[in-house]
């Protein structure tokens, strides 16, 4: 028998190894048993999660924190369908993930066999591309194509569905050296003429603003972004997906725009005469009412996905390309034309002063109280401990917005959240993936009392893997974001918003063999957080915060972003 006669399961592991995969997150089932058998004595690390959705979220956490492809694995039928939410999440946020699912034996496909689901059909719209491998001979090629598609161009999730008999069949394995996807065209370089026009527009502008998003992170363009911002000396905003793309402490950084963005960001985005849009998609949460968005602005739009350019807002200078490559050239162009800088510099200095005034008028400032922990207080304490260096995985809700507003990031790939889909249950499993990828880093999972209860099964995973994730539950006793909207827009008729019966964290963590506690007093918060961080293993800290705090500023849905509600209505004397 020849040395390279291998079965499909083994060949798959071989291909994953060649793609430099070092960990996969998964959950076994009937049709993936041959694969799990091959994993039994294979060096590739497999992390057993407690729900397939979390396998994919963990793979995303791995990918978001490293830029490498995250890999998850599920069985056919229910295993595959459990992945769907997280695949959509990865799709919306352009995260490179390869999901491998088992499928019933090829002969049974289409017969409503036990645990058969049309995974290929179901996941067509929630992946960048998907494959059903019907022959073992196609497997190596397909796996490498999947990694290529997931990680290049606009990244995204790719699913490979593999029937049980393909795992079991044997063949002589020859490694693949080339792949050919003739219809997969990626334009990375950016059009030189357009880049020159962009530089021209920049020097002509009086009120420029840099609007940077997840594309900066995906492209690894932080350094180039910083150079651009400094060269033009323009104010800069980062979207929820772009936080960390620019150091939060940078003097030109004026925080996040949009629904819960800073006053200065939203005012500047409204008054600007030139938006330099980099790896963003003019999402409705950023633009508010589109017709009223940046009414005086010309737009330079750089994106690797041509379909994003002009989708929501017409671009005056469209540039299809990778943000890093385009910015490198744009910076060069700006250097070469530096003599033009003076032309409008006086106007731009005035603009900077105006933006600074807006920042001082309504800064993002944490609230404090001596008798209850304010959510903003919690976030600023986490910020103090992190010092801009910790990985922070947020779930979805009010806590996510406060974390985005008050925690600073010195680098990209530290802030992980479900931006486009807003999927509750993301934060904790994403932290598991991030901690696996970054064993020596401090990783916080900041979750709400609602979202945390969607992820509780994964307490077993952190215990099992002894992952030192710091789970911080911002416990307001409510589905806070729901309560806020019901208070503001539904006459405070709180319907299904209260969360009664939160488990005792000490007992809950204790049941899994690690420490947990509740903190309620502001004067105990700092020590409690420090104790959690000092713990070598996982820690569950339940922080009771004021229940009725709302996230401000807030742009009501459908409103223009300069029409922010800045603070709660002041109580009137009876």
């Amino acid at each position: 028998m020849s040395a390279n006669l291998m079965n499909g399961a083994r060949i798959l592991l071989e291909c994953l190894t060649r793609e430099k995969v070092d960990v996969i997150f998964g959950y076994p089932g009937g049709v993936t048993l041959p694969l799990y058998d091959a994993l039994y004595d294979h060096p590739l690390k497999h992390v057993l999660v407690r729900h397939e959705q979390n396998a994919c979220f963990a793979a995303e956490g791995y990918a978001r924190s490293t830029g490498k492809v995250g890999v998850c694995l599920a069985t056919s039928g229910p295993g595959a369908t459990n992945l769907v939410t997280a695949l959509v999440d990865a799709m919306m946020d352009s995260i490179p993930v390869v999901a491998i699912t088992g499928q019933v034996t090829t002969k049974l496909i289409g017969s409503d066999a036990f645990q058969e689901a049309d995974t290929f059909g179901i996941t067509r719209s929630c992946t960048k591309h998907n494959f059903l491998v019907k022959k073992l001979a196609e497997l190596p090629q397909t796996i490498h194509e999947a990694f290529h598609i997931a990680s290049t161009g606009r990244p995204g999730p790719v699913l490979v569905d593999i029937p049980k008999d393909v795992f079991q069949a044997t063949t002589h394995y020859t490694p693949v050296s080339h792949i050919h996807l003739p219809g997969y065209k990626v334009y990375t370089e950016g059009h030189a003429g357009q880049i020159r026009r962009a530089a021209q527009l920049i020097w002509e502008s009086s009120r420029p603003i840099v609007y940077a998003g997840g594309g900066i992170i995906a492209a690894g363009a932080s350094e180039d972004l910083r150079e651009l911002v400094e060269r033009v000396d323009a104010p800069a905003v980062c979207t929820l997906m772009g936080l960390g793309g620019m150091p939060s402490g940078h003097p030109n950084f004026i925080s996040m725009p949009g629904m819960h963005g800073s006053y200065a960001s939203n005012m500047a985005m409204t008054e600007t005469d030139l938006i330099i849009a980099l790896g963003v998609r003019f999402d409705d949460r950023v633009t508010g009412r589109l017709a009223a968005f940046a009414p005086h602005a010309k737009v330079i739009h750089v994106d690797i996905d041509p379909a994003e350019i002009g989708k929501n807002r017409t671009a005056d200078v469209p540039i299809v390309g990778d943000c890093q490559k385009v910015l490198e050239k744009l910076n060069q162009e700006l250097r070469d034309s530096a003599d033009q800088k003076e032309r409008n510099e006086a106007a731009r200095a005035g603009w900077r002063a105006r933006v600074r005034d807006w920042m001082h008028e309504h800064p993002l400032e944490p609230e404090f109280s001596s008798d209850e922990i304010k959510p903003q207080h919690l976030m600023s304490e986490i910020d103090r401990i992190s010092g801009g260096e910790a990985i922070v995985c947020a779930d979805v809700g009010q806590h996510q917005m406060w974390a985005a507003q008050f925690i600073r990031f010195n680098h990209p790939r530290l802030w992980l959240n479900s931006g486009g889909l807003g999927a509750m249950g993301f934060g904790f499993p994403a932290a598991i993936g991030a901690q696996m990828a970054n064993p020596d880093k401090l990783v916080f999972a900041i979750v709400g009392d609602g979202g945390f209860q969607m992820s509780i099964p994964e307490l077993a995973t952190v215990a099992n893997q002894n992952l030192p994730v710091k789970i911080i539950v911002m416990n307001n006793g409510y589905l806070g974001m729901i309560r806020q909207w019901q208070e503001l827009f539904y006459n405070n008729r709180l319907s299904a918003a209260e969360l009664i019966s939160f488990p005792d964290p000490e007992k809950l963590a204790g049941a899994y063999g690690f420490k947990g506690r509740t903190v309620e007093k502001p004067q105990h918060l700092r020590a409690a957080l420090e104790a959690a961080v000092a713990e070598p293993g996982p820690y569950l800290l339940n922080v009771r915060v004021s229940p009725f705090e709302n996230v401000y500023p807030m742009v009501p849905a459908g409103g223009a972003i300069n029409e922010m509600v800045l603070a709660p209505p002041q109580p009137v004397e009876a």
Partner: protein, 182 residues
């Protein structure tokens, strides 16, 4: 407006599903769609008519271009292209109007492909407006049933097919394969 797009697609499983899926997910209404293989049996040609807001025309093309199995996308709504549709019409005829129906078909350049005591099956091709007219005329003669193919088109300009080249995967080919399995 009605937009006519012509796609050159790899003949891969699910390719049709991907095209129709993207169109429906983005809210574009498919008016007609035809698919058949090309001279190269590995490729298919799709002609699709979608009902879109004019502002969305470019977006439809871009979304089609994003599909990995789609090799080429052309907007043939206007410009140098031949656009044709086929209609098969079964019309009930009486001994009195048989000759008139055949004459009418001849005027439209259509022809009877089947004849029986009940009537005719007639094949007509042309642009959509011409077919509309012809069908109206046939209906005036008697009970009719119509099957239309939807528009198919061929561009009159040679458009160079731009394909992505093969990529060398930067794989660690030295990785030891230590597995010997049954």
């Amino acid at each position: 407006m009605l937009q006519l797009i012509s796609l050159l697609v790899e003949n891969k499983p699910g390719a049709l599903l991907r095209v129709t899926g993207v169109l429906s997910a983005r809210g574009y209404n498919i008016e007609s769609l035809t698919v058949a293989s090309t001279l190269d049996p590995e490729l298919s040609r799709m002609s699709i008519v979608v009902d879109v807001d004019p502002s969305q025309r470019a977006q439809v093309i871009k979304q089609m271009n994003k599909l990995i199995n789609v090799l080429q996308v052309s907007d043939l709504t206007e410009g140098p292209a031949v656009r044709r549709e086929l209609a098969l019409i079964r019309v009930r005829a009486t001994p009195q109007n048989r000759a008139a129906i055949l004459k009418e078909a001849e005027i439209f350049g259509a022809r009877a492909v089947d004849s029986s005591v009940e009537g005719f099956a007639i094949e007509a091709t042309g642009d959509s407006e011409k077919l509309d007219e012809f069908i109206e005329v046939m209906k005036s003669y008697g009970e009719s049933e119509v099957t239309r193919s939807g528009l198919v088109a061929v561009s009159l300009e040679a458009k160079k097919l731009k394909l992505a080249p093969p990529v060398k995967k930067d794989l660690d080919l030295e990785t030891k394969t230590d597995g010997v399995l049954k």
